[in-house]
């Protein structure tokens, strides 16, 4: 994954723009991106995931220039290549855990093809992440926050997408569950050979990552005259 000379400017707030001259991630590593809120972390993730496109520069994921794809193809690309975990409210609360885990496969036929038996894969992931098998049929909204994050991790990991993007996945968890969750996530990411890009404001997490990048080091935030 690489970003070259990227500039994104918000439509409404023209006075603020995010500039990333160069940012690269090597394959199968883990990177912690540190930044305060408002430093453009979420925007960076949206750029990587292709829900927004930069006005300038290129964003490549797995060698593909995201901006060159059509909107529909970008959605498909995201489904195929990126597993996402958010801070919280990751799951469709009314659906079962199993349906939640299988949801990305619905939009990613290639990723789906890598999983011979989606149900078995979901079950195995749940076990690996320390979720009892009976949670699969439970309604996602009934689980505790910690369990929900693990389900979200299982959903991001299913079908082994090359890139895992986690946006402050542990900030809603207490310290003990944080540590367990992270070690499980690391183990699974390594097992599936996925690159892990995690965004956080918590520098203490850095020790477990291959690389720690500060948001301020890769961006040039500047005031632009309209």
């Amino acid at each position: 994954m690489s970003l070259e000379d990227v500039c994104y400017r918000w439509g409404g707030r023209a006075s603020f723009a995010l500039n990333i001259p160069h940012f690269q991630l090597s394959k199968a590593g883990s990177v912690l991106l540190l930044g305060e809120s408002g430093s453009g972390k979420s925007t960076l993730l949206s750029l990587v995931c292709g829900t927004i496109t930069a006005q300038r520069g290129t964003v490549r994921v797995g060698g593909t220039d995201i901006a060159s794809l059509s909107a529909g193809a970008r959605d498909r690309f995201r489904a195929e290549h990126i597993g996402l975990i958010f801070q919280q409210f990751n799951l469709l609360p009314y659906a079962t855990v199993l349906d939640n885990i299988l949801l990305p496969l619905r939009f990613a036929p290639m990723r789906r093809a890598r999983v011979p038996s989606p149900r078995a894969a979901a079950r195995a992931l749940c076990l690996d992440l320390g979720l009892p098998p009976e949670t699969l049929t439970a309604q996602a909204g009934r689980l505790s926050v910690g369990q929900q994050q693990r389900v979200a991790a299982a959903r991001a990991l299913i079908g082994a997408p090359p890139l895992l993007v986690a946006d402050e996945p542990t900030s809603a968890l207490d310290a003990a569950t944080q540590a367990t969750f992270l070690s499980l996530l690391f183990a699974q990411a390594r097992a599936s050979g996925s690159t892990l890009l995690m965004v956080s404001h918590d520098a203490r997490l850095g020790a477990q990552f291959d690389r720690v990048v500060r948001m301020a080091d890769i961006t040039q935030t500047m005031q632009v005259r309209p």
């Binding site: 979420s42 993730l45 949206s46 995931c49 829900t51 927004i52 909107a71 529909g72 959605d75 498909r76 690309f77 995201r78 489904a79 195929e80 996402l84 958010f86 409210f89 990751n90 799951l91 469709l92 609360p93 009314y94 659906a95 079962t96 349906d99 299988l102 949801l103 990305p104 619905r106 939009f107 990613a108 909204g141 959903r155």
Partner: protein, 416 residues
């Protein structure tokens, strides 16, 4: 899977979704109920008289003849003479003929003079015959058979004496010749219910001491003497005719219409009923339009609930988007949800209709004489269901497009 998620999402919002479905169900039940009553009324109306091939009367309009001879509404402009009646009765095409003589009343009910053959020949609702609830058909000149409504309204029982008034809104009673109730008919839902039936001879009998519509002063013939009189009618008001072969209906009709000695009119009851229904039928269109509006209102209510749910569902849409769902998926998700709600509502509405019919059918038949058949859903009802589903999907396009734009703008990040 999308359908399963849509259903789960609906289940999670059981209360609002339930209320929306209830509104649609009620509107569909109302709409199909009105439809049911309308077709039932139309069928009942068309079934007022059956088995009769022709109705003959003095020349007037066909609807008018139908109104006074069958529905006892309005008056005959003229009678037809007994000679003409017998000429027609003697024609080879005529299988049977039943005379009807109108013009007198008992309280608010019309009195009809006829022969006992009327009870065999008059058919309604696809060939059903008149049935006596109590008593027997008239035997004596002064016997009378009452329609169900007459007996119920006036509280008559077998053997009660009744007095027939001359004319229709008259204070002059034929009180020197009181009648006796010999039989009471079962409810039919036809104008027969509101008719006092006497023999044709009785109509002559009560007019024995009358001339030119007024009682001859001082003259009074005893009932005993009257019974011995011939009492040949001078004229009758109308006649119901059956032909030997259906092929002869038009021939006989033409023969009657061209009858040289008197201007006569013969009508086909079915055709005249159709003509009459076209006049009555304007009201049914209004009724349909109103109940159609109720369905539209319910669907717009559904659109409003979907609109108002969009904001609280932004997170849900963002999750879909993050998982790689195209905005189109969100569009279709909302439309599927709306269609499912409309379908459940429409089917529940039909269910309510049938339940209501099961409960109320006998009561409606008894009190209005309106028979609403319980049949498997007709093509028309299926069309209503499909129409409601389609309309539900169409009205949901509005909120779905809004969701589409919202999810496009939000992407996978929602700031609430």
């Amino acid at each position: 899977m999308i359908l399963r998620l849509a259903l789960a999402s609906l289940r999670a919002r059981l209360l609002t979704v339930g209320m929306t479905i209830l509104a649609i169900a009620l509107s569909v039940a109302l709409f199909s109920g009105v439809e049911k009553v309308r077709t039932g009324a139309k069928a009942s109306f068309a079934d007022t008289i059956s088995g009769t091939d022709l109705i003959m009367g003095a020349r007037s309009g066909s609807v008018q003849l139908l109104l006074y001879s069958v529905f006892r509404i309005g008056n005959a402009t003229n009678n037809l003479t007994w000679e003409s009646y017998q000429d027609i009765a003697a024609r080879p095409e005529t299988d049977w003929i039943v005379p009807i003589s109108l013009g007198d009343s008992h309280r608010q009910f019309r009195v009809m003079g006829t022969t006992t053959e009327f009870f065999d020949r008059y058919k309604f609702r696809a060939g059903r015959s008149l049935i006596l609830a109590e008593g027997a058909v008239m035997d004596d000149v002064f016997d009378t058979v009452l329609g169900a409504d007459v007996a119920a309204t006036l509280g008559y029982a077998i053997g009660d004496p009744i007095v027939v008034a001359h004319g229709l809104a008259s204070f002059v009673d034929h009180d020197n010749q009181p009648f006796r109730v010999s039989g009471i008919l079962e409810k039919t839902g036809t104008p027969v219910d509101r008719t006092v039936i006497v023999s044709l001879r009785a109509i002559e009998a009560i007019h024995v001491d009358w001339q030119n519509g007024a009682a001859i002063p001082g003259q009074s013939t005893s009932a005993q003497t009257i019974r011995q009189m011939a009492l040949e009618p001078q004229a009758v008001t109308a006649a119901l005719i059956g032909v030997k072969s259906r092929l002869q209906v038009f021939g006989l009709q033409r023969a009657i219409n061209d009858y040289p000695h008197e201007p006569l009119l013969a009508i086909l009851p079915g055709v005249a009923l159709q003509e009459l229904w076209q006049i009555v039928g304007i009201a049914e269109t209004a009724l349909i339009a109103v109940s159609g509006m109720v369905v539209v209102t319910a669907l717009i209510g559904m659109m409003a609930t979907i609109f108002s749910s969009l904001n609280e569902r932004r997170r849900e849409m963002a999750i879909f988007r993050a998982m790689g769902a195209r905005p189109r998926v969100i569009l279709s998700l909302l439309i599927i949800e709306a269609a499912v709600m409309a379908a459940i509502g429409a089917l529940a509405g039909l269910g309510m209709l049938y339940l209501g019919l099961l409960i109320a059918q006998p009561a409606i038949d008894a009190s209005f004489g309106l028979w609403l058949p319980i049949e498997p859903p007709s093509l028309r009802e299926l069309q209503v269901v499909l129409g409601v589903v389609a309309a539900g999907a169409i009205v949901s396009v509005g909120p779905a497009l809004r969701a589409y734009r919202m999810s496009l703008a939000d992407g996978m990040m929602v700031r609430i």
